[in-house]
Symmetry: C2
Subunit: 495 residues, 2 copies
């Protein structure tokens, strides 16, 4: 099974927040090259209203969903994935847990695409071209789309399903959506598995704004990395970049693509960020068996990276080389890459295209304003770009979306909190929130103690929504137990 899911999140979800001045990664073309899994489904479309919450237009558009009824028996439950910020295939291919459950529960398996991603673009190729179109990309509209799909499944498409129970699944932003759809539509969705969902990563949640890289650093530190060695390496890069000779050395050491060569001492920030993203990503996907992402990775990739960082080197050159090893591990594990591009905007033509990769950034510039920055030593082993400010983030948003009519006043930093809750869900029931201790996103997860049917599970050896993956021979005992617990909860909800 290929495993693009966490990567997709990394691309579209991770880096945006990791940056004082957010950049975008992501080349949609790459996703189409992913090796397909063994899962099969029928692709369908349902017309849904462009705007569920106003009646200024009667425009509709076809929302894509995948369905498999191989295990379904009349009246059996619907296992329903609430699609994230990306094309739907990845989620269908990388949520093996649902596929593993279906035959045990006589269930249908459905994955619904999030509007404005993949093939669910309300205005097709023009969807990202102006604010009057893109403005309909919101989580509330997406949830209402999903409700329409569920209604259609129960009342039209699936035989004998009018009383079928519905269980929502999602990881990361998809996990936020699965929790929220249960909270907002409990008469439609009977329970939810919300894996690694940073539901409390908003301004009013008051989580530490620097928690993300703190956790990344902790994951590396407990995997054998020498904290001082990492800290030193950035200073070495800064120092080398101050001289022409040093820049030359770095360009060669990191085999930088001719389009992204470092030319000034400032340019080193792109390289540093490129490496930070690799490390952040490895913490997110620190799984116990080899998985294949943008570049394939070995089992426990953080441990593998830390082999290069066991002690503080006694020369600058050795410090720089440590970092190169990390780059080579994360971006080139298969060894077929001749050069690296530290600044995607310079190397990749697809980057500039308006489309999916700008979807999540747009969401973070409207209602999903999630404060995130690094505070550096002694909290994390990167460098300081805190504080996060709405003003600074607004600069980025205006710069990115101003040309399509976005205005800074469209950012509503309090809205997600007002709409969904800042740090508690007082009436929640039938939700399992899982978080992985290794995963930086766990810093904004639901952490209240288990109460009633709201179950909180922390996977000590878990990365980003590890539990949603399919069974694997090298799975930890812990994740097996967690999946059993999730299955038990689901059986209660659908009983």
């Amino acid at each position: 099974m290929s495993a693009s899911f966490p990567l997709l999140l990394l691309l579209l979800f991770g880096p945006i927040f990791c940056l004082g001045h957010p950049r975008l990664l992501g080349d949609p073309a790459r996703f189409s090259q992913l090796k397909s899994s063994n899962y099969t489904w029928q692709t369908k479309f349902l017309d849904v209203p462009l705007d569920h919450f106003a009646f200024t237009t009667n425009r509709t558009f076809p929302l894509r969903y995948f369905i498999n009824t191989d295990s379904y028996k009349a009246g059996g439950p619907i296992l329903f994935y609430t699609g994230n910020e990306g094309s739907l295939e990845s989620f269908a291919e990388n949520t093996g847990f649902m596929w593993d459950l279906a035959p045990k529960l006589n269930a249908s398996v459905v994955f619904a695409e999030h509007r404005f991603y993949g093939e669910s673009k309300p205005f097709k190729n023009e969807s990202y071209s102006k604010i009057e179109y893109l403005g309909y990309l919101t989580s509330e509209q997406a949830l209402a789309d999903f409700v329409d799909v569920i209604w259609h499944l129960k009342n039209k498409e699936l035989q004998g399903a009018s009383k079928s129970k519905v269980v929502a699944f999602g990881g990361s932003y998809g996990g936020m959506l699965s929790a929220w759809i249960r909270l907002k539509y409990p008469h439609i969705v009977n329970g939810a598995i919300a894996a690694s969902a940073p539901v409390f990563w908003f301004i009013e949640s008051k989580i530490p704004e620097d928690i993300y890289d703190k956790i990344v650093s902790r994951t590396f530190n407990t995997s054998g990395c020498n904290w001082k060695a990492v800290e030193k390496s950035w200073m070495v890069l800064d120092s080398l970049a101050k001289q022409a000779q040093g820049l030359d050395y770095l360009n060669k050491l990191f085999k930088l693509d001719s389009k992204s060569l470092l030319k000034t001492s400032e340019d080193v920030n792109f390289l540093k960020q490129y490496i930070r993203e690799a490390m952040e990503a490895m913490a997110m996907v620190d799984y116990p068996y080899p998985t294949s992402f943008l570049s394939p990775l070995p089992a426990w990739p953080v441990r593998a990276a830390c082999k290069f960082f066991t002690k503080v080197p006694n020369t600058d050159v050795k410090s720089a080389e440590q970092l190169y090893q990390v780059v080579n591990l994360y971006y080139n594990f298969t060894g077929d890459k001749a050069t690296f591009c530290a600044d995607a905007s310079k190397c990749e033509s697809a980057f500039a295209a308006l489309g999916d990769p700008l979807g999540w950034p747009f969401q973070t510039c409207t209602e999903m304003v999630m404060p995130l920055c690094g505070s550096g030593s002694p909290n994390d082993f990167f460098w300081r770009d805190c504080p996060f400010t709405v003003e600074k983030y607004g600069d980025y948003c205006e710069q990115t979306f101003g040309k399509i009519g976005y205005k800074r006043s469209m950012m509503r930093p309090l809205f997600a909190t007002q709409n969904y809750g800042a740090n508690s869900f007082p009436t929640a029931s039938n939700i399992v929130f899982t978080n992985g201790y290794l995963d930086p996103w766990s810093g904004g997860g639901y952490t209240e103690k288990t109460h009633g049917s709201v179950v909180t599970i922390l996977l000590k050896r878990g990365a980003h929504h590890y539990d949603l993956r399919g069974e694997h021979p090298d799975d930890t005992e812990e994740v097996r137990r967690v999946r059993q617990r999730e299955e038990s909860a689901i059986r209660m909800w659908i009983a």
Copy 2:
């Protein structure tokens, strides 16, 4: 205390559903003539987004609210009325229960206006002029407005209120909103009093479509009316209207305004409808003490009306006279009216104006599609205009709103159900649902048994949201007990 509230509902809420071919009543000018109560408040405005659920525009508009902090002590609760389909004054003046509670609870009292009514029109006088404006009149947007007001009160306006509890109050459509705001925003609103809220009056709720007039008939029947006498009277009108002489007689008997004279046998339907509306209204406002509405009414008005209907008359003329007595009672209790207008659209210039009176009809043509019709004998003592069909209702909608760009496909008869629930609220808590057995709207109320903190109360001698009214010497023992129970529930929620 004047008591325009139930009337307002009658005008804007009641008649729309009572008709096979809906007409509109309501002359906004009249409301301004209402005698004001002794309650006082400050009028304020808060800028809220025109569209909470999309980012195609950053337009905002000022939403009106009333606030009184005479009893408020720092940290005390906020008693918050979720405004209905009408200008705010009526709700502030006719929800004495909130005013009575405030000093006992050290509470602030707030009434928030529903968008597109009163002085909360996003596009001022143009608000009803085209679908691109009026389309933003939805219940979801209104709830989000209210959330903004609450957030503002807690964090900006009210001193020491950041942790204040919030209790929502509402009657009729306002009661639907108070229940829904607790369901959808439990992190914002701690509990809700939902009085006479027909939350389950939607197509998928599957309540009998003819329940409304069944209850009206029952209320009259148990108040002394002779069922056969009423049934006969309609046949007499039909029969008289078939001849020129009979029409002439009816025009004189009912003192019809020269603009609404009956000219053909078909015209009698306007007169019949005019009388049915009076009877429906009296069932809604069948309170134990005199109240003052469009026309003032005596205590227990249904009982008063039934004095004219104790037995079946032996002549047609006497039958017709019975009906005239009802007209005279409801529309002319003070006796200063010289003529009656059976067809408001012909007599009243304000009727044709685009504005508030068309607000609720618009809502019923988009998401608040509430099936309602009369099935006649033996179910009710009126006549048959069932079945209710979406197609037939669509005709009315297109005819009324087509000129501003409304299209029939904008009607989404399943939406309220999908959004709020068809006939259960599986995760509800901290809501008191009250219904009055005399009130036709009780037919679509929440009727599950009390479970946990969701309390269901039926007032056997209660009309439309009687419990929300202020204390009165002639109150029934029953309503006093109910208000005590509501107060106890509120004290639990805010403890």
